[in-house]
C-alpha cells in the first residue's frame, strides 16, 4: 500500500523522528523518547483523538491499536485483550493510577469517552515494575494533561440508532494558573438493526438504551519551585442490558458511577525532582436483573499516596524510585462482609546510559506487600541500543510480572477462594525500530517479538455442587510478533498524506492439562484472534481532513479446541470520517461527518452479541478562542 501512495504522490517525505521524540512516554515509566524505549509504545495523540471524539476508548483502541477489544456492541461492555491475555491481565492507568476495578480486575472501556483524555499510550510488555501488578501483557495509559490554551467549546453530535452527545469544554491557562473542564452527556437508544443468524432473520436490538455523563475538571498552579495540580473526574452511566441476541425479554440494567480525585505536586530541589500524588476514588457498580431477582450492589473505595524521586547522579545515570501505599475497601452485596486490602510498594528503576548514550539499560526492582495474599517481588531489565544514530534501534526486555487476584475471586460469597495466589509470568521480548529519513515516505518501522509464560493463572470452574470457584490452575504461554509501519508525505500543493499500518500475530496456548483429558492443551485460547491488521489513511488539505480506518480480525474460537464449527468468522470494518474546519475571527467551526462500518459487515466479536451494520454520525463544534 505504501508503495502505491509513494508513486502517486512522490512527494516530499517528512521524517517525524523529531515529532516522535517529542512525545513524553509515560506508559513504561522510563523517561526516554519513544525510540529509546525497551518495548514498543503505541501513541494515539491529541490530534488523532480530536478526530475520534464521540467514541469510547474501546472503539478508539479497536481501530487505532494492536489491542483486540472484546466489544459486546453499542451500549455493551468493551474490554481489552493484549498479546492473547485476558482483560484482567492488562493494566489500565489514568495518569499513572491503576483504575482496573478491584472487584472484577478489569476496566470497561465503553465507559470511558475519548474526548476527556488528551492522549492514549499503549505499551505492550510494560512490566509490573512500572506500576505494580495487573499487567501480565502490558499497560494502557490514559492522559488528561491538556496543552495550554484559552478557549471555550461546545459540541453536538448525533447519529444512527438514536445517538445523541452534547459536550462542553474549556481551557484557560496562564504561566501561573491552568484550568480546564471537559464534560460530555451521551444518550443512545442503540436500537440498531442486525441479522440474527439464530433465526435467519433481521431484527432490531431492544432494551439497549444507554445514558451517561462524564466531567473532568482540573486546576494547576505554579507554587514557588513546584507545580500543583488537582484533577476531579466524575462519571455516571446507566445502561439497559439486553443480553445476547437470543434473549428477547431482558429487563436487566446496570449502573456505573465513579468519582476520582487526583492531586499531584512536583518540585525541584537542586538536581532532584520530587513528586507526590494523592488519589481518592469511589466507584459503584450495581446490576439488576428482575427476572432472576438479582440485585447486585458493590462499591469500592481507594486511597493511594505515592512519592517519586528522580535524581541524575551523572550524565550516564539517572536514579529513580517510588514509595507508595494504597488502601482499598469493597462493600458488596455479593460478599459476606466488607473486605479491604492494604498495599505497600517500593520501586527502584534507575536509567543507565553507556557508550556515549547509545546503549541504555533500564534495570528495575519492585516489591509489593499486600495484607491479604503476601509479598510479591518483580524484577525487570530493559535495554535499548542505538545501532545507527537516529536510524536503527535494537531493544529488548526481560521481566517477571504478577497479577493480584481480584476481590471477587477471593471473596465472592458462593465460590470465592481466599487461598488464591497472584498470577505470575516470565516475559522476554526483542524488537527493532527503524526511522529512515527519506525512503519511500517511511517514517518508522517497528518489529517486536515476544514470548511469555504464565503460571498460577486464575480460572473459574464449577465444583461438584455446581458453584463456580476460582483456582490457580492455568499454565499458558503466549508468543507472537507485532509490526508497525508509518508513512508520511507532503504532496504539492498542500496535500498531506499519512498512512499507518500495524499487524499482530499471536499464539496463546494452554501448556499443561487442567484436568484429565483436557483437550485445550496446544490449542489457541478461546476468543483470541491469531491475526489482526489495522490500517489508517489520513488526508489533509486546507480546511479539510479525512480519515479512513480499516481493521481485519481473524477467526476466534469459542471453545478450547479450535473447532471451526465453534468459531466466529473473521471480520473487517471500514470507517470513514471527513472534517471541515473554518475560523471566523475568534470563532472556529468544525463540521464532521462519519460513516462507520461502511462495508455494512455483519459480525459478532463475542458470540451472540451483534455489532451494528453501516451507521452514520454528524457533529458540529463551535469554539470561541479567548
Amino acid at each position: 500500500m505504501f508503495l502505491f501512495f509513494y508513486q502517486v504522490a512522490h512527494g516530499q517525505t517528512i521524517a517525524d523522528t523529531l515529532q516522535m521524540e517529542e512525545i513524553e512516554v509515560l506508559a513504561t515509566r522510563i523517561l526516554q523518547p519513544l525510540t529509546y524505549q525497551p518495548t514498543n509504545v503505541e501513541v494515539t495523540d491529541s490530534t488523532r483523538l480530536s478526530f475520534l471524539k464521540g467514541q469510547s476508548i474501546g472503539e478508539v483502541m479497536a481501530t487505532e491499536s494492536s489491542l483486540f477489544i472484546k466489544e459486546h456492541g453499542p451500549g455493551g461492555m468493551a474490554t481489552a485483550s493484549q498479546r492473547g491475555l485476558s482483560s484482567e491481565q492488562i493494566q489500565v492507568l489514568w495518569e499513572g493510577i491503576p483504575i482496573n476495578s478491584p472487584t472484577i480486575g478489569q476496566t470497561d472501556l465503553s465507559l470511558l469517552p475519548a474526548n476527556i483524555f488528551s492522549e492514549i499510550q499503549l505499551s505492550s510488555g510494560a512490566p509490573s515494575t512500572a506500576f505494580g501488578g495487573g499487567n501480565l501483557s502490558g499497560a494502557l495509559y490514559l492522559r488528561s494533561d491538556w496543552e495550554a490554551g484559552k478557549y471555550f467549546s461546545a459540541r453536538q453530535r448525533m447519529g444512527s440508532y438514536g445517538q445523541w452527545q452534547s459536550s462542553l469544554e474549556g481551557r484557560y491557562s496562564t504561566e501561573a494558573l491552568q484550568v480546564s473542564v471537559h464534560s460530555m452527556y451521551d444518550y443512545s437508544e442503540n436500537d440498531f438493526e442486525f441479522y440474527n443468524r439464530a433465526y435467519n432473520r433481521t431484527e432490531k436490538r431492544e432494551h439497549n438504551r444507554s445514558e451517561g455523563y462524564n466531567m473532568m475538571a482540573s486546576i494547576g498552579k505554579q507554587i514557588n519551585n513546584g507545580h500543583w495540580k488537582s484533577v476531579f473526574w466524575v462519571a455516571d452511566k446507566n445502561n439497559q442490558i439486553p443480553g445476547s441476541i437470543l434473549k428477547t425479554d431482558s429487563k436487566s440494567r446496570q449502573e456505573d458511577q465513579a468519582l476520582r480525585w487526583l492531586s499531584t505536586y512536583e518540585r525541584q530541589i537542586g538536581n532532584a525532582e520530587l513528586s507526590f500524588k494523592n488519589y481518592l476514588s469511589r466507584a459503584e457498580l450495581n446490576y439488576f436483573d428482575f427476572d432472576m431477582d438479582t440485585r447486585s450492589f458493590s462499591t469500592n473505595k481507594r486511597w493511594m499516596v505515592s512519592s517519586d524521586l528522580k535524581y541524575p547522579v551523572a550524565e550516564q545515570l539517572l536514579l529513580k524510585g517510588e514509595i507508595s501505599g494504597a488502601l482499598t475497601g469493597v462493600v458488596s452485596s455479593n460478599y459476606p462482609i466488607d473486605k479491604s486490602r492494604n498495599q505497600f510498594s517500593l520501586l527502584a528503576n534507575p536509567e543507565v546510559m553507556l557508550l556515549d548514550h547509545r546503549l541504555r539499560i533500564y534495570p528495575a526492582l519492585r516489591m509489593d506487600a499486600y495484607n491479604d495474599f503476601g509479598t510479591v517481588v518483580s524484577p525487570s531489565l530493559g535495554v535499548n541500543h542505538e545501532l545507527l544514530p537516529d536510524k536503527l534501534f535494537l531493544r529488548g526486555q526481560l521481566s517477571r510480572d504478577f497479577n493480584p487476584p481480584t476481590f471477587n475471586a477471593l471473596y465472592w460469597g458462593q465460590g470465592g477462594n481466599p487461598d488464591l495466589k497472584a498470577e505470575r509470568s516470565n516475559t522476554g521480548e526483542a524488537g527493532i525500530t527503524i526511522t529512515p529519513e527519506q525512503f519511500l515516505g517511511i517514517s518508522s518501522i517497528k518489529l517486536t517479538g515476544y514470548y511469555s509464560q504464565i503460571s498460577n493463572g486464575i480460572r473459574w470452574y464449577p465444583g461438584d455442587d455446581g458453584i463456580y470457584t476460582p483456582s490457580n490452575i492455568e499454565e499458558l504461554n503466549t508468543k507472537g510478533v507485532e509490526a508497525e509501519i508509518k508513512n508520511t508525505f507532503l504532496v504539492s500543493p498542500g496535500w498531506q498524506v499519512s498512512i499507518q499500518q500495524s499487524g499482530i500475530l499471536n499464539r496463546t496456548e494452554i501448556m499443561t492439562p487442567r484436568f484429565s483429558g483436557d483437550q485445550a492443551v496446544g490449542n489457541q485460547l478461546r476468543y483470541t484472534p491469531q491475526w489482526k491488521y489495522n490500517a489508517s489513511f489520513t488526508l489533509q488539505k486546507d480546511i479539510f481532513k479525512g480519515l479512513i480506518q480499516y481493521r481485519w480480525v481473524s477467526r476466534r474460537f469459542t471453545t478450547d479446541t479450535e473447532d471451526l464449527r465453534d468459531s466466529l468468522d473473521p471480520y473487517q470494518v471500514l470507517d470513514v470520517s471527513v472534517r471541515a474546519k473554518k475560523r471566523l475571527q475568534a470563532l472556529e467551526f468544525t463540521l464532521q461527518v462519519g460513516v462507520k462500518n461502511l462495508l455494512d459487515a455483519n459480525y459478532e466479536i463475542i458470540q451472540w452479541y451483534a455489532m451494528p451494520q453501516r451507521n452514520f454520525n454528524l457533529s458540529l463544534t463551535a469554539t470561541y478562542h479567548l
Binding site: 439464530a198 431477582d293 464449577p462 461438584d464 483429558g517 471453545t559 464449527r565
Partner: protein, 352 residues
C-alpha cells in the same frame, strides 16, 4: 413428508426414548440406527447442540440440528423429549422450544417463550406444558401454532424441572434448589393442580418405568451458612422416591446419600442406574441399593439402551470443550466411546 409414508413409518419405526420422562417402555430388540446426544453447551456461549451418532459407522454429526436446518440450535439445552414423530428441544437463554422431525431433525416449528423454560411435556396433540424456572409455573403452549396460549399459567412449586405425563396426570418435579421437596400433579384435562406429593429435598429428574412408576431423583440440598460458607452439617442428602403414576402416591423411597443427579432404568433387568458421584445400581423390585459402585466415575448424563443392553453415559469435559459419550456393558466395563458436544446430558436411541 408425503402422507402415504406415515402409516409405514408408524409401523416400522420405534422410537426409544431414553430420557427421563419418555415413555420408558423397553421395545423389542431392533437394530439401533442412531443415537442422539443432547449437549447442554456453555452458559456464556449458548452453544447447546444435538450430536447424532451412527453406531454402525462410528461417525458423528456434532451439530446435527445445524446441519439439518442451516442455523445453529442457539441456546442452553435444558431438555429434549421425543413424543411421536417429533423431538421437543427446550433451550433457555434463547428461551424457546425447537420442534423438529425426529428422523431428519428438520425444524417443524419454534415456540418462543416469554419465560425461562426447563422442560416440555405433551398433553394432547394440540397442547403441551412447559415448566418455567423462575416463576414456579407451567405455561400451556399451542402445538398447532407453536405459541404460548393466553391461558393462565399453572402455579406449581419452586423451580420446576422435569415433567412426565401418565394418562391425564402430568407430574412436575419442583427442585427449588433443594428448598422444595414436592412433586405437583396436574390434571391435563382441566389444567388444574390435582395434588402435591411430598418427596425428598430437591426433586430434579423423573424417569418412568414400564409399570407406570415414576422414579424421582431428589438432589438433596447443599447447604451454605449466612456467610455463604459451605455448611456440610446442614446438607440434606439426596434420595430417590418412587411414585405410583396411576394413583399419585409414594410407593417407597431410597436414601442414597450424596447428591444424585440422574437415573436410567433397565426394566427387563429390574435395575436402575443412578449417578451419585459414582454410578450405583438399585434393585427396582426391592428398592435397595444393589451395588454402590458399578462405575467409579461421575457423569453428566446416563441412559440405558435396551436393544444393546448397555449403558450410555455422558462425560463432560467442562463447558468450553467437547464432551465424550462412553458405552458400558452392564458389568461396568467400558467398551466404546465417541465425541459429542459440550456437557452431554441426554441420550435418545432411534431404532429401525
Amino acid at each position: 413428508m408425503k402422507i402415504r409414508y406415515i402409516p409405514f413409518l408408524l409401523l416400522t419405526t420405534v422410537i426409544l426414548s431414553s430420557c427421563l420422562g419418555d415413555n420408558g417402555n423397553n421395545p423389542d430388540p431392533l437394530e439401533l440406527a442412531t443415537v442422539y446426544v443432547s449437549n447442554e453447551g456453555n452458559f456464556g456461549d449458548a452453544n447447546g447442540t444435538i450430536t447424532s451418532y451412527d453406531p454402525e459407522s462410528g461417525s458423528t454429526l456434532k451439530a446435527a440440528f445445524e446441519d439439518a436446518n442451516g442455523r445453529p440450535l442457539a441456546g442452553i439445552m435444558q431438555s429434549a423429549k421425543i413424543r411421536g414423530s417429533r423431538m421437543y428441544i427446550v433451550l433457555n437463554e434463547a428461551n424457546k422450544i425447537e420442534v423438529v422431525d425426529v428422523r431428519s431433525l428438520e425444524s417443524v416449528g419454534t415456540i418462543e417463550m416469554s419465560t425461562t423454560p426447563t422442560d416440555f411435556e405433551i398433553v394432547t396433540e394440540e397442547v403441551g406444558y412447559v415448566s418455567n424456572l423462575y416463576d414456579g409455573s407451567i405455561t400451556i403452549v399451542d402445538l398447532e401454532n407453536f405459541e404460548e396460549t393466553d391461558e393462565e399459567r399453572i402455579s406449581v412449586g419452586s423451580q420446576p424441572r422435569s415433567m412426565v405425563r401418565i394418562g391425564n396426570f402430568v407430574y412436575v418435579a419442583n427442585s427449588g434448589s433443594g428448598d422444595d421437596r414436592t412433586v405437583t400433579v396436574i390434571n391435563g384435562n382441566n389444567d388444574t393442580v390435582e395434588e402435591t406429593i411430598e418427596v425428598g429435598a430437591g426433586p430434579t429428574e423423573i424417569a418412568r418405568d414400564t409399570g407406570n412408576r415414576l422414579w424421582v431423583v431428589c438432589n438433596g440440598k447443599i447447604a451454605y451458612d449466612e456467610n455463604w460458607e459451605r455448611d456440610p452439617e446442614n446438607d440434606i442428602p439426596g434420595s430417590v422416591h418412587i411414585i405410583d403414576g396411576q394413583t399419585a402416591t409414594v410407593v417407597d423411597s431410597i436414601e442414597t446419600g450424596g447428591h444424585p443427579t440422574d437415573i436410567a432404568l433397565n426394566n427387563d433387568g429390574a435395575e436402575a442406574y443412578l449417578i451419585d458421584e459414582t454410578v450405583s445400581v438399585i434393585n427396582m423390585n426391592t428398592f435397595e441399593i444393589k451395588e454402590d459402585t458399578l462405575i467409579d466415575r461421575t457423569f453428566s448424563g446416563i441412559e440405558y439402551m435396551p436393544t444393546e443392553g448397555r449403558l450410555y453415559v455422558g462425560d463432560s469435559k467442562g463447558y468450553s470443550q467437547n464432551g465424550q459419550a462412553i458405552i458400558y456393558e452392564l458389568d461396568g466395563t467400558a467398551i466404546d466411546s465417541f465425541s459429542v458436544g459440550i456437557a452431554p446430558k441426554i441420550f435418545h436411541f432411534i431404532v429401525n
